[in-house]
């Protein structure tokens, strides 16, 4: 009985804010609010940047997860701590760190600008970088767990039957960790979508270039509450869909 009550409280904790937002929304203006140039720009940027961040997380995170799960590299614990740091760091601090590393005044940023004309701050790629920084750890930790739970006898069997390492990975390992890859990618994508602090600090708040949904909501909050709430609803619905779609996968994993 106590379990049910506590669980009900937990459900209320999540449901009440969503219900509050739904009843506060001005439904007669929601469509116009979501289709203004500023809103459409923010929606488009958020989609482009978060999907790019998820893609980068997959490309660079999978090998990293492999190293953490399957190799005996010395200092693995430290490496894992480093990789998971952005999860614990306040996002604004992440943004400040990125500024220190990539701003035009930093050695690396200055060099990139002089040699290749690249400026990451105040740019869409910069927003993608900030989002990847905070989102990739979610992917890595999920896929590492997936790799650890794979029964390596299948891989050994395939290898003993003559499959090369890449083929073993492609045809045996990957299908086995597919649920983790999908779950990790979705988590990383959702985290990237909701990123605010690192984005506004590093990539700035430029409409059409770096003003993603969360930044637009923040700006709109003072002037057009209805628009802010409409945009917030989009973010909330997306988050809900992510949570609902992942639930089964998490349970299957366990």
């Amino acid at each position: 009985m106590a379990v049910v009550v506590l669980a009900a409280v937990a459900v209320a904790f999540f449901a009440v804010p969503l219900i509050g937002l739904l009843q506060r929304a001005n439904w007669s203006t929601v469509w116009t609010d979501l289709t203004t140039e500023q809103s459409l720009d923010a929606l488009r940027l958020s989609l482009v940047c978060s999907l790019s961040a998820a893609a980068l997380a997959i490309v660079f995170g999978t090998p990293l997860a492999w190293v953490l799960a399957r190799t005996e590299v010395p200092g693995r614990a430290l490496l894992r701590g480093l990789v998971l740091l952005p999860m614990v760091l306040p996002p604004v601090v992440g943004g400040v760190a990125l500024l220190a590393a990539f701003s035009l005044r930093s050695p690396l940023g200055g060099w990139l600008h002089d040699v290749a004309g690249i400026q990451l701050t105040f740019s869409t790629p910069g927003a993608v970088l900030a989002e990847t920084f905070v989102a990739m750890p979610f992917y890595v930790i999920t896929v590492e767990a997936g790799l650890r739970s794979v029964d390596q006898r299948y891989e050994r069997a395939a290898a003993s039957l003559g499959a090369g390492r890449l083929e073993v990975f492609r045809r045996v390992t990957l299908p086995l960790i597919a649920p983790s890859v999908v779950a990790g990618a979705v988590l990383a994508w959702a985290r990237a979508l909701g990123e605010f602090g690192a984005t506004i600090t590093f990539a700035g708040n430029i409409a059409g270039r770096t003003q993603t949904l969360p930044l637009a909501v923040y700006l709109q909050l003072e002037t057009d509450q209805d628009a802010a709430i409409a945009l917030s609803l989009v973010l909330l619905v997306v988050s809900l869909v992510v949570l609902v779609s992942l639930r089964d996968r998490w349970i299957a994993r366990a």
Partner: protein, 268 residues
């Protein structure tokens, strides 16, 4: 079970002591005295919501106020005036409000949330800020159109609106894809001082507070915008006397002297 309970009681007691100890420390050296300020002997605590450009000066005013009124504890919250007005309208527990423009004060007076007439207590002006040594050679507002990424406050925050007024007055049109909007005046300046923004428009007092981290380029009088700060006690205050004491302090000689020392002008 009993050991657990005993432990919980001990921890709870320890926490209470800790909180009580912290509480009394916050009141400062204890009281030998009475201050000779008027209304001495007032007690309680108030929350003052002020425009972010007032951060340093209000903190200094707070220190001075504390010696005149040791019984009153003043807590500050600084942010864009438009943000705080929105929060107060939503019921944020604030005793005194000091926005950077009349529009945000009117949002509250229109709703009957203000106790007396707002009082103007200081003025400010705008200035262009660039990186130290002005590497982009910015001379005036018209240079901002071609300088690169410019940092301004949000379009609806006072400092953003005033910056736009100044730009309109100078006939300068900025490409929005080159404008990064800061959450408040401090963040806007930060984008120039610590970030990669080439230049920005902020208040004279912000540039002064930032010291050597930025260079200030003056705006000529015919393009300048004068910003007037007003202050008012809010109807939702739980401590009218303390709140009014703070408002009175702004207009006092001591208060005005501190404001002037930070670069603020007398109310326009």
């Amino acid at each position: 079970m009993t050991l657990g309970r005993r432990l919980a009681v001990v921890v709870f007691a320890a926490l209470c002591l800790l909180v009580a100890g912290c509480g009394s420390d916050a009141e400062g050296p204890s009281a030998t005295t009475a201050s000779n300020g008027s209304g001495s002997g007032l007690t309680g605590s108030i929350t003052v919501a002020a425009a972010s450009s007032l951060t340093e000066v209000f903190t200094a005013l707070g220190d001075e106020f504390r010696s005149a009124q040791p019984g009153i504890e003043v807590t500050f919250t600084f942010n864009a005036s438009s943000t705080m007005a929105a929060q107060i309208l939503e019921g944020a527990p604030v005793d005194v409000f000091a926005p950077a423009d009349a529009v945000n004060m009117e949002k509250l007076t229109d709703e009957g949330l203000v106790v007396d007439e707002p009082v103007a207590f200081a003025s400010n002006e705008l200035v262009i800020v660039t990186k130290p040594a002005n590497p982009a050679d910015i001379v005036g507002l018209h240079d901002l159109a071609t300088a690169g990424v410019i940092s301004l406050c949000g379009a609806d925050a006072p400092c953003g609106k005033f910056a736009q007024q100044a730009l309109d007055g100078a006939g300068t049109v900025l490409d929005e894809s080159n404008v990064t909007r800061g959450q408040n005046a401090k963040a806007t300046l930060g984008a120039v001082a610590q970030g990669d923004a080439v230049a920005g428009i902020v208040y004279v007092t912000d540039a002064r507070a930032a010291g050597d981290s930025v260079e200030a380029i003056a705006i000529p009088d015919d393009q300048q915008v004068v910003v007037t700060y007003s202050i008012a006690v809010l109807a939702g205050t739980s401590n009218v006397d303390a709140a009014e004491a703070w408002v009175a302090f702004m207009g006092s000689e001591a208060g005005q002297a501190i404001l002037a020392s930070f670069g603020f002008l007398p109310p326009a």
